[in-house]
């Protein structure tokens, strides 16, 4: 009954909480206790992403609109590839590009658009309505910013390791080809 489409090659643990219309690309690892909730629209997650424990990716209704109102179009949240969502982060951004890192306990609001190579530092809350330019690092208690010269490296080593080890200790959700019928969770 759920609309979770998990591509072949993705490792999604059973203990993760995925609700709504979610598509997960290949080589993505979703740790146990991660939550991906598509309330106000579908979520499309690309390839090679790393979503750690207690991370929350939520496509929720904006605060001042009731869920029952008729005239809201469901907006798709799209997440690119090679992103890292560290432990305990909260991401509501509608559009996330590639090679971004959202560090532990960071919060990204709904009106933010992360381009590529951005790093939102630990405990930083970004709630502005803007497109964060490429290769920006947001750090510190006052969310200072600087631009780095190269994008953060994709976590290929970590992804390979996890894809080998996680199945030894957790049951995985069933994968399905994206074009066929939805999978049972």
């Amino acid at each position: 009954h759920s609309d979770v489409k998990i591509a072949a090659g993705a490792v999604v643990c059973v203990e993760s909480d995925i609700r709504g219309d979610v598509t997960i690309g290949a080589r993505t690892v979703v740790h146990p206790k991660a939550r991906i909730i598509a309330e106000a629209g579908p979520i499309v997650i690309g390839e090679g992403n790393l979503i750690e424990e207690q991370a929350l990716i939520i496509n929720s209704f904006p605060e001042n609109i009731l869920p029952d109102a008729e005239d809201i179009e469901p907006k798709t949240m799209s997440i690119g590839f090679n992103n890292v969502f560290e432990v305990g982060c909260v991401s509501q951004a509608l559009k996330i590009g590639d090679n971004n890192v959202i560090e532990s306990k960071a919060e990204v609001g709904r009106s933010v658009i992360l381009s590529s190579g951005c790093i939102v530092g630990a405990c930083c809350a970004v709630n502005t309505c803007e497109v964060i330019p490429e290769n920006t690092v947001i750090y510190g208690s006052e969310c200072l910013r600087r631009v780095q010269t190269e994008r953060p490296q994709p976590q290929t080593l970590q992804l390979d390791f996890l894809m080998k080890i996680l199945p030894n200790y957790h049951h995985l959700k069933k994968t399905v080809k994206a074009s066929s019928t939805p999978a049972r969770s």
């Binding site: 530092g121 690092v137 750090y139 510190g140 200072l144 910013r145 600087r146 631009v147 780095q148 010269t149």
Partner: protein, 467 residues
């Protein structure tokens, strides 16, 4: 409720050169003078230098040579965090055979907090893990060194003149008796530490620390005076119209941490070696005894000598405050803790009218008139479940509870002002047995030391009036 336990609520008065009101946890107690001392009435001396990240000890002479910076550790120029060395594998051609490539390790510096890397400023990766990183050279070093030499010579000449003026009967190199203001002077050639008396009348010469080596030839060093230029480089034409690239502009803090260069652009921010921290020992100015002497090892947090006030003076803490109303009497519950191992007798007195110490109190206070007895601190008492009840007769109106070395008691507070915070003050008088004094009579069976009665002025801040 935890806010009542904050140490800033209870202040003790220190009667030193200045009258300072500080919580007891920040005070020291000189048991030879039997007085409280704060950080302002002790002299601070440097014990040893160490690097905060690699915890390497450094002798003072070496520290002075390296300008108080560590040789191995670097600070991020962007966020001042400690930099860590990371390695990557890069293909590099073999020296024998240029066509084949082998993986070699290349090291670069990276900051874990703001993700700054040494590649951001164009520093090439090094092939050795440590020791390969150089700080950029200051272009004015030569001129500065020459100026320093000239002024050192000037200082030497001034010192000779001053010594000549001194009376001949006192040899200038004899260590003078300990007195009010003594400062530590480490001579360059390791003549040992010399304690020089800083004369209270004369101002400190700015060149005091620079002294020439003994017996050096008195070369006449001349310097050219700095030349004032008439023409200044003009600003670039688009200075006012060019849009500012904000990420490239350095903050003032980043700029001023590198006073040699003060780069305006973030791409010229080079990392600097990490600043050393020091361990200091404190010495009472009156009796010149050490009050606090840390251990030499940088990894150890213990002290060789630790005469802190909390381990000698009974501590007053606020336990609960009722609603305070203007001109109405309320009872505030306080606790008194006894830090020493023998029984302590404490009496409290209200401050008299026109007490010069009593400037902050905004309420009248009535303290218990009887003497309070505190049991000694027994380290094993917490493990002893069948503790025998202590045979103290407590007045239940005054003493609410008693638990090993702590008692709770009431004071009555009558706020005098309609607005503002309520502050009360009283005097705390307790007996102190000085265990530092030597036992004069070895024939005595009991090693009783005399009890001195000490009086302290305590101020409590009880917060605002209840609305």
């Amino acid at each position: 409720m935890a806010t009542l336990l904050q140490p800033e609520k209870v202040l003790y008065l220190v009667r030193g050169e200045k009258k300072i009101r500080v919580p007891l946890s920040q005070l020291y107690f000189c048991r030879y003078c039997s007085e409280l001392r704060s950080l302002e009435c002790v002299s601070h001396e440097v014990d040893s230098h160490f690097c905060p990240s690699c915890l390497e000890n450094m002798p003072s002479a070496e520290a002075k040579l390296k300008k108080n910076r560590c040789a191995n550790c670097f600070d991020c120029p962007c966020c001042m965090h400690t930099l860590s060395t990371r390695a990557t594998n890069i293909p590099a051609p073999l020296p024998d055979d240029p066509t084949k490539t082998t993986m070699k390790k290349a090291y670069y510096l990276a900051c874990g907090f703001c993700r700054w890397t040494s590649r951001d400023v164009g520093m090439a990766d090094k092939s050795v893990a440590s020791g390969g990183w150089q700080e950029p050279e200051n272009p004015h070093t030569q001129r500065i060194n020459k100026l320093i030499e000239y002024y050192q010579q000037l200082a030497q000449r001034e010192k000779l003149e001053r010594d000549r003026k001194k009376l001949a009967r006192r040899r200038p190199f004899m260590p003078q008796a300990f007195s009010q203001h003594t400062i530590h002077v480490v001579e360059k050639y390791g003549l040992g530490t010399r304690l020089q008396r800083q004369r209270s009348g004369a101002p400190i010469s700015a060149l005091y620390g620079l002294s020439l080596k003994e017996g050096e030839d008195q070369k006449e060093i001349t310097i050219e005076p700095a030349q004032a230029l008439d023409e200044v480089e003009p600003l670039p034409e688009d200075y006012y119209t060019r849009p500012v690239n904000l990420p490239e502009v350095t903050t003032l803090r980043q700029r001023l941490l590198q006073p040699d260069f003060q780069p305006a652009g973030a791409s010229q921010l080079h990392p600097r070696h990490k600043h050393l921290l020091m361990k200091r020992s404190l010495r009472c100015r009156k009796c010149e005894h050490n009050l606090s002497k840390p251990e030499f090892n940088p990894t150890s947090i213990k002290f060789k000598i630790q005469l802190v006030a909390v381990s000698y003076i009974p501590e007053v803490r606020i336990m609960s405050i009722p609603n305070l109303r203007h001109m109405k009497e309320s009872q505030v519950l306080l606790t008194l803790t006894n830090p020493v191992e023998n029984i302590t007798h404490v009496s409290l007195y209200t401050c008299e009218e026109e007490d010069p110490d009593d400037i902050n109190s905004t309420a009248k206070v009535l303290v218990p008139s009887k003497e309070l007895v505190l049991a000694g601190k027994d380290a094993a008492a917490e493990y002893d479940e069948l503790a025998e009840p202590q045979g103290f007769q407590d007045d239940p109106d005054v003493v609410t509870f008693r638990k090993s070395n702590k008692i709770g008691f009431f004071i009555k507070v009558i706020p005098q002002r309609e607005e503002g915070d309520v502050t009360v003050a009283f005097k705390l008088r307790h007996d102190f047995r000085n265990l530092a004094a030597p036992i004069r009579n070895t024939e005595e069976v009991e090693a009783t030391s005399e009890a001195i009665w000490l009086t302290h002025h305590v101020e409590l801040s009880l917060g605002p009036l209840a609305t």
